[in-house]
Amino acid sequence: MALNADDEDYNWEPPTEAEMKVIQARRERQDKISKLMGDYLLKGYKMLGECCDECGTILLQDKQKKNYCVACQELDSDIDKDNPALNPQAALSQVRERQLASSLQGNHAEPGTAHSDPSPSATVQPRPEHCEGAASGLRTAPFAIPNSTLSSSVLASSSPPLPANGPVPVFLNSSPPGAPSHSALDCAEDVLLQKLQWATRELQQSNSVESSIQLCNLLRSCAESLRSIKELQQL
């Protein structure tokens, strides 16, 4: 094939460590893609004749006729795994780290009075659902309420939307929240309290079981939101 193969071979050097790692990583990625595609084919997916525009992997089609790229939608989320905006676990780990840092600081600064403060915040861990809510709040439209487990339709129809950037900036910014976010937190707190009062009134007046259940859910989520806001204010 190559007529000058032998000449060029004299200039060849073995790849360096870094290059080897890159080659190895690429090979592993290819192997993973092949394995995933094989699994999907065995589940009944169809292999199409087209390739993905972004990564060049062959597209699969599931039974609902939806096209699916294995590399883009499954493998590349490895990079996003550390992005707290998109992953609740990452957000949780960041919050824990910050709490640990602040409790250490508090212990150094005011050993006496600070004990009571960090301990409730240390014992009450923000649950992943909150972080999940924060993450989904970032992903979806700003009208959705970040920390609520209810569907947004019930709330959006009845009340003005809460600002979505309430507790979220804490997870995004690495620096501690400054003055503007304090006012945002207070704002959020006020609105939540208003919502709580409204919901209590509605609950008194409601006749159907379904709406009562939903209002109780709303009350619970408002209370939880308030609790998290209080914790954030203490950070």
Partner: protein, 676 residues
């Protein structure tokens, strides 16, 4: 979606690797089963490569080509779909490395792969025709053992057949059913052929396997057995048990004459005319059946439904009737027994001829169905036994039946001699010793003109016995110029002229040829005369020994299982590549040699660790270097010709794939061709 999609080597590799990841889970003796959800929602649990690949939903044309080639290969040899995919994936991976290296080195531009791939496909063809055949003929043939007792006596020993079939079933159905199926297959083969090498019988079994076997569901597989005679997959409409010899009539039309023919019109003017017509019909039927009874016919096999009147009279005459038979089954019955379908008018007018002879005819209950069991007296060399295959579930039974069928296809392939498709086929009647021998120069090296002999002793092959008698001892002095017909002179980079192998040259004086390697001084167009060491293969004349030269792989050649064929071929290819001058052939040899290792690697890799494979590999290389064969392998055997066929099919599939530039997707559906 319309449009043309360019095909790159990376797409080929991706498709091949995806299929490889599916197939490697169930490959080899330790492979597992694959759970597959079909489009209809039903589950399929199998390890049959052909079934898995055919069930995948693939719209990618490359994948469809690969699957089609693999399945077509399996139809011929009965096995090897998974090995095909593994080998193809390894070859394409190696190819991608070669192509990437080429483009980055030579032009630095990517996307010039098409030209390299086309060049490579030419080299592949040259590799198949020259190198592979040569290596198989010279090196691998010596290491293969034979299924037969001895060269002259072409009887297959029971133990050898059992080892071959055991290896096959181990890979096909796993360890559970391997023993029972291989014993059954061995018994069936020996019963049908009597141990002699009967390719026709095995071919007959392969072609008519559907009719020769019966699947029974709901009974444990240990109840599978061989039955004498033939089981007709229909129950009796009328049954009179007979144990003595009987004659059988085969008929494809209704025995009762119709009231009117299809093309004619019957005018009836009164009821009485109708009555008399019907009475005539009754009488005819009665006569026909009594004539049959007189001739000794006790069974009528009909492919159409007979009327009640016929059945009534058959009952009166004690004749059994089987109706609505499958046409294929009926034709099989006719070919085994020598009977032919008879027309009713022949019976009426004359004594019926072409009746089949049988020893018994009875009803048999297999599972939930009752069938007719007939013991045929066969004159021709046809199998007189049939198989009953049982299984607890229908999926397993179907799998065992197809494995059984594949085993016989593999046997047929093993017992046939494999001829070289590309070897010297000119059958010159007489080798003319007077005017010079037309010989085929199979490999040529070029050396400097100082008379320095080429040092590689590997090029000098041991002359085969059949050629020795044509070589006349004498001094080697040849001063006449060589006449080269139909050869190409190729420029090498260093300016030497390299003659393309397999050109024919006429060597003036036959008496001057002493040994296979001769030194010829030939004048090139340059100033220096070159010394050419040529290896001469004489074109064989059609005597028995020379037929061996054309036959690449003798019938009944087997190798021990576990990758010994691949390891041997790998070793010899690497050796050939190290001595080869042509860079294209060298690259292809290396490519194929490395790809061949993927099969034993998959056999011996347990989990992620390749330690066992490396151990086996180093030991095998050492053995081949010292003794020329692989020792201490598993005792079971596999067919050489199937393995060789696998390699050839894979190389041809790869060649057809790399020549594709792009595919165009159209909107109209093309109906798929009927499966063979």
């Amino acid at each position: 979606m319309n449009g043309s999609h360019p095909v790159d080597i990376s797409i080929l590799v991706q498709v091949a690797e995806t299929l490889e990841s599916i197939v490697s889970r169930c490959f080899g003796p330790h492979g597992g089963l694959v759970l597959f959800t079909k489009a209809t929602g039903e589950l399929l649990i199998t390890r049959d490569g052909q079934k898995i690949l055919s069930s995948l939903l693939l719209e990618q044309p490359i994948a469809k080509i690969i699957v089609h080639s693999a399945v077509a290969h399996c139809h011929v040899t009965g096995d090897g779909t998974k090995s095909f995919i593994l080998l193809l994936a390894a070859l394409l991976r190696g190819l991608r490395v070669m192509v990437m290296r080429e483009t980055t080195r030579s032009t630095g531009r990517h996307g010039q792969h098409g030209l390299q791939l086309k060049l490579l496909s030419d080299h592949l063809l040259a590799f198949q025709t020259q190198v592979l055949d040569h290596i198989v003929r010279c090196h691998l043939r010596q290491c293969a053992s034979s299924l037969f007792l001895s060269d002259r006596d072409c009887k297959v020993t029971r133990s050898n057949a059992k080892l071959l079939l055991e290896a096959y079933f181990y890979g096909k159905v796993g360890a559970n059913h391997c023993q029972s199926l291989s014993t059954l297959a061995c018994d069936y083969y020996l019963k049908c052929t009597g141990g002699d090498q009967c390719n026709e019988v095995v071919g007959f079994i392969c072609d008519h396997f559907e009719e020769l076997h019966t699947k029974v569901v709901g009974i444990p597989s240990s109840s599978s057995r061989i039955l004498e005679g033939l089981v007709l997959h229909r129950d009796f409409t009328e049954y009179w048990p007979t144990e003595e010899e009987l004659k059988i009539l085969v008929i494809t039309e209704p025995l009762q004459p119709p009231l009117v023919d299809a093309s004619a019109t019957l005018y009836l003017q009164s009821d009485q005319q109708l009555q008399s017509s019907c009475a005539w019909i009754h009488q005819r039927v009665q006569e026909i059946l009594s004539r049959l009874s007189v001739s000794g016919v006790r069974l009528i096999l009909s492919s159409v439904k007979q009327t009640d009147l016929v059945l009534y009279h058959a009952k009166l005459n004690r004749i059994s009737v089987v109706e609505c038979m499958d046409p294929e089954e009926l034709s099989l019955f006719c070919s085994i027994s020598g009977a032919a379908p008879v027309s009713p008018w022949d019976i009426f007018l004359d004594q019926p001829t072409h009746l089949a002879q049988a020893q018994f005819c009875k009803s048999i209950l297999l599972g939930a169905h009752r069938y007719a069991h007939v013991g045929i007296t066969s004159k021709s060399l046809c199998p007189q036994y049939c198989i009953v295959l049982c299984g607890p579930v229908s999926g397993l039974t179907i799998q065992c039946a197809s494995a059984f069928h594949g085993a016989f296809k593999m046997l047929r392939q093993t017992l046939q001699p494999l001829e070289s498709r590309y070897g010297p086929h000119e059958t010159s009647e007489n080798i003319e010793l007077q005017n010079g021998i037309d010989c085929v120069v199979s490999s040529i090296n070029v050396c400097p003109a100082e008379g320095e002999a080429y040092g590689g002793t590997d090029r000098v092959e041991q002359p085969r016995q059949c050629l020795a008698r044509n070589l006349i001892p004498g001094g080697m002095h040849h001063s006449e110029p060589l006449h080269f017909h139909s050869c190409h002179v190729k420029e090498e980079c260093c300016g030497d002229k390299l003659l393309e192998p397999h050109c024919t040259c006429n060597i003036g004086d036959a008496t001057s040829i002493m040994k296979r390697t001769i030194e010829l001084n030939a004048k090139s167009t340059g100033d220096n005369s070159l010394v050419i060491n040529a290896q001469i293969d004489l074109i064989p004349s059609p005597t028995r020994e020379e037929e061996c030269l054309c036959t690449l792989i003798a019938p009944g050649s087997v190798f021990p299982v576990g990758g010994s064929f691949e390891l041997l071929l790998h070793y010899h290819l690497l050796k050939y590549a190290s001595h080869c001058l042509d860079p294209g052939t060298k690259a292809v040899c290396n490519l194929v040699a490395n790809a061949l290792l993927s099969i034993p690697r998959n056999i011996y890799t347990a989990g992620k660790s390749t330690r066992h494979f490396l151990h086996v590999y180093t030991k095998a290389m050492r053995d081949i270097q010292s003794e020329g064969r692989v020792r201490d392998g598993p005792k079971m055997l596999e067919s050489v010709s199937c393995k060789y066929q696998l390699l050839i099919s894979t190389l041809e599939c790869m060649r057809s794939l790399i020549c594709i530039d792009c595919f165009i997707v159209g909107t109209r559906r093309v109906s798929p061709p009927a499966s063979p």
